[in-house]
């Protein structure tokens, strides 16, 4: 018997979608029979813009590539430029970079928690976690001058010295967050109604996850211990102690639990950073003059672990002061197309937002 389907666009203006993208769904009743991702509502042509800019000019726009957590972009850009130009970074600057990245990770996880809880209609968690994220943004403002976009991790170091008493403020915030995490456990992660919604939904097989290049919580949610910070350490993550949490379920709930554990790990790393932060040392290397800052005709690939998985940059110089090509590899491209389109088939309409949020799909990095 042939079943009738209707086609609806889930997005781009829809409360249940993560950003400016849309999923074209074919529905039988409320069951999805086919899904196709559409992007293009947010194409700003960053990769094209960067081709015509000098290294320092390009630096100002890389952080705009991903809105929820801009810092991995800056870190990637700095790593790639330093690798191509052969710049060494001081120890203090590396510590500050790790601190910024982990703070950004915490902020991004809190933002994710708002999205994930919102997708199941539990708005209370979202309101709480956005408030807590704002406290982190306050610290970012004190450190960098910007709340969301920081433009702080610069090729050659970081742009500003730590303000007076910053580490104490950060320590106090970590104490506060640690207490809050218990509350989140009670309201969100241990909530029977959330578990009922999340367990067994959007299951990713571990075999598939390895072969199709899934990253981040999707991998760790199926029991695979993969994390760029450990596998391919950058900055001084090799010297810091932290665990890589994994879960075996592979479903939305497993990914949520991985993220919950990662928040604790981030706090652990930040505490180590506070304890080990060097008091002396330059934060910035002397760079060539702006117009004389040339990159050799070389290319490289660098990656950092963002809050949603491996975030990589391919960068090629051509001997001039311009960057010949910079290509962004965010976790969302594969997750948003290959994974999402296959995961949604057979699911109910009510699970679309749930699955999208748990994959951490962010359209700005799909269409740079």
């Amino acid at each position: 018997m042939e079943r009738k389907t209707i086609t609806i666009f889930h997005g781009p203006q829809h409360p249940g979608i993560t950003g400016n993208m849309s999923v074209e769904l074919e529905l039988t009743g409320e069951t999805i029979t086919k899904a196709r991702t559409h992007v293009g509502y947010l194409h700003r042509g960053f990769e094209k813009l960067i081709e015509r800019r000098t290294v320092i000019q390009a630096f100002t726009i890389v952080c705009r590539i991903c809105v929820p957590e801009p810092d991995p972009n800056e870190a990637n850009f700095a790593l790639a430029v330093e690798q191509l130009a052969g710049i060494e970074v001081s120890e203090k600057a590396t510590y500050i970079r790790v601190m910024v990245l982990e703070m950004a990770r915490l902020a991004a996880q809190l933002l994710w928690m708002a999205g994930q809880s919102g997708s199941v209609g539990l708005g209370t968690v979202g309101q709480w976690s956005i408030y807590d994220r704002d406290l982190i943004l306050d610290l970012f403002e004190a450190l960098t001058g910007g709340r969301v976009y920081h433009m702080y991790i610069y090729p050659g170091g970081v742009r500003r010295e730590l303000p007076e008493g910053f580490l104490e403020r950060l320590g106090a915030l970590l104490d506060y967050l640690q207490k809050r995490l218990v509350e989140y456990d009670r309201l969100f992660f241990d909530n029977a109604s959330f578990q009922k919604r999340a367990i067994g939904v959007g299951v990713v097989k571990s075999e598939e996850a390895l072969h199709l290049g899934y990253v981040g919580q999707v991998l760790r949610g199926c029991g695979l211990k993969r994390d760029v910070r450990r596998d391919n350490p950058y900055f001084n993550y090799a010297a810091l102690e932290f665990d890589i949490p994994t879960q075996s379920g592979g479903d939305v709930f497993a990914r949520a639990l991985v993220r919950r554990a990662e928040m604790r790990e981030s706090i652990k790393i930040l505490r180590q950073v506070i304890a080990q932060m060097p008091t002396e040392g330059a934060i910035m290397q002397k760079l060539p003059k702006h117009r004389k800052f040339t990159l050799p005709k070389e290319d490289t690939y660098v990656a950092v672990e963002s809050a949603r998985g491996e975030f990589g940059y391919y960068m090629a110089g051509d001997g001039s002061e311009m960057i010949r090509r910079m290509q962004v590899k965010g976790p969302s491209l594969i997750h948003g197309f290959t994974l999402l389109e296959s995961l949604l088939v057979g699911e109910e309409l009510s699970n679309v937002a749930l699955i999208m949020n748990s994959l951490g799909i962010c359209p700005p990095e799909i269409e740079r």
């Binding site: 209609g121 309101q127 009922k196 919604r197 109910e348 009510s350």
Partner: protein, 293 residues
């Protein structure tokens, strides 16, 4: 006299409906850790929408939906007595009984289906399908509890039900029946975890998607009045009704606060899950409660 009484009841229901809606926004805002809008905001919204014009039209069937719903809500308010004794604020309740009220409660969703079905918006149709699916599951435990109350009172008349509760209210006499009714009451009020009809992350606003202007205002007003009617029904059936206006406010407020707080700490079930849940736990409670009568 009856006319004045009816008018007063409608006015009270409208006022309390929007007051409680404002309180709901405030209370849930406090749970969220923020300050909500002022209490008068929902009145302003309603009045503002009544003076706006429609932005879309889908023919008269589309407009019939909110009107039928409003009819259901108004009749419900008129047929449920506000006070458990005396002549004032009784409306038409002496000429109707519980069965009429239960019948009228279904009128709203049916009118909604009529109106929404004619606008052709897939999200509206999906929302109304969800609503009707859930309604079937909601009614089962609620009717079981109501049947228990009617058996206990030996009649479907409100006066008899008040009479039966004059010593001890049904909440204490039949806690299991109350539990069953309260869980489906949460669903009737559209609270989490049963708020599948207008789930914004899934079907936008569901049935209300295409409505605008006056008819949206009508939709809002009837839903506020209908919410108050449901609170009243619960108070009358299980809390022994209200002795006076102050008692009425107190009892409805307690029920309302309980529903609001429960609603703000639960995630939304999917449609199938909510039907399964309602068919299982509250229905079981209702059956056991009936057996214990």
């Amino acid at each position: 006299m009856v006319l004045i009484d009816c008018f007063l009841m409608l006015l009270l229901a409208y006022g309390f409906g929007f007051l409680y809606y404002g309180l709901y926004r405030n209370l849930s805002a406090r749970v969220h850790g923020r300050f909500g809008p002022s209490l008068a905001q929902s009145f302003f919204d309603s009045v503002k929408l009544f003076v706006k014009e429609q932005s879309t039209t889908f023919g008269w069937m589309f407009y019939a939906g909110p009107i039928i719903m409003a009819t259901g809500a108004v009749l419900n308010v008129l047929f449920i007595p506000f006070i458990n004794h005396g002549d004032s604020l009784q409306g038409l309740s002496s000429s109707a009984n519980l069965i009429v009220v239960l019948y009228l409660m279904v009128l709203g969703p049916l009118g909604n289906a009529l109106g929404v079905g004619s606008n052709g918006n897939p999200f509206g149709v999906m929302g109304i399908t969800r609503g009707l699916t859930r309604l079937i599951a909601l009614e089962l435990p609620f009717y079981l509890a109501v049947i228990g109350v009617m058996i206990d009172a030996g009649s479907a008349d409100f006066s008899a039900i008040f009479e039966a509760q004059s010593q001890e209210m049904n909440l204490l006499k039949h806690p299991l029946l109350f539990m069953a009714a309260f869980i489906s009451f949460l669903g009737f009020m559209g609270k989490s975890p049963f708020d599948v009809v207008g789930a914004p992350q899934e079907v936008y606003s569901g049935p209300a998607t295409e409505f605008s202007g006056k008819f949206f205002a009508l939709l809002l007003s009837q839903s506020a009045m209908f919410s108050f009617a449901k609170l009243l029904l619960m108070v009358n059936l299980f809390l022994g009704g209200a002795d006076d206006l102050g008692d009425l406010v107190l009892k409805t407020f307690v029920l309302f606060v309980a529903a609001t707080f429960i609603g703000s700490v639960y995630a939304r079930f999917s449609t199938i899950q909510s039907v399964e849940f309602l068919m299982r736990i509250p229905t079981l409670l209702g059956i056991v409660g009936l057996a214990l009568l």
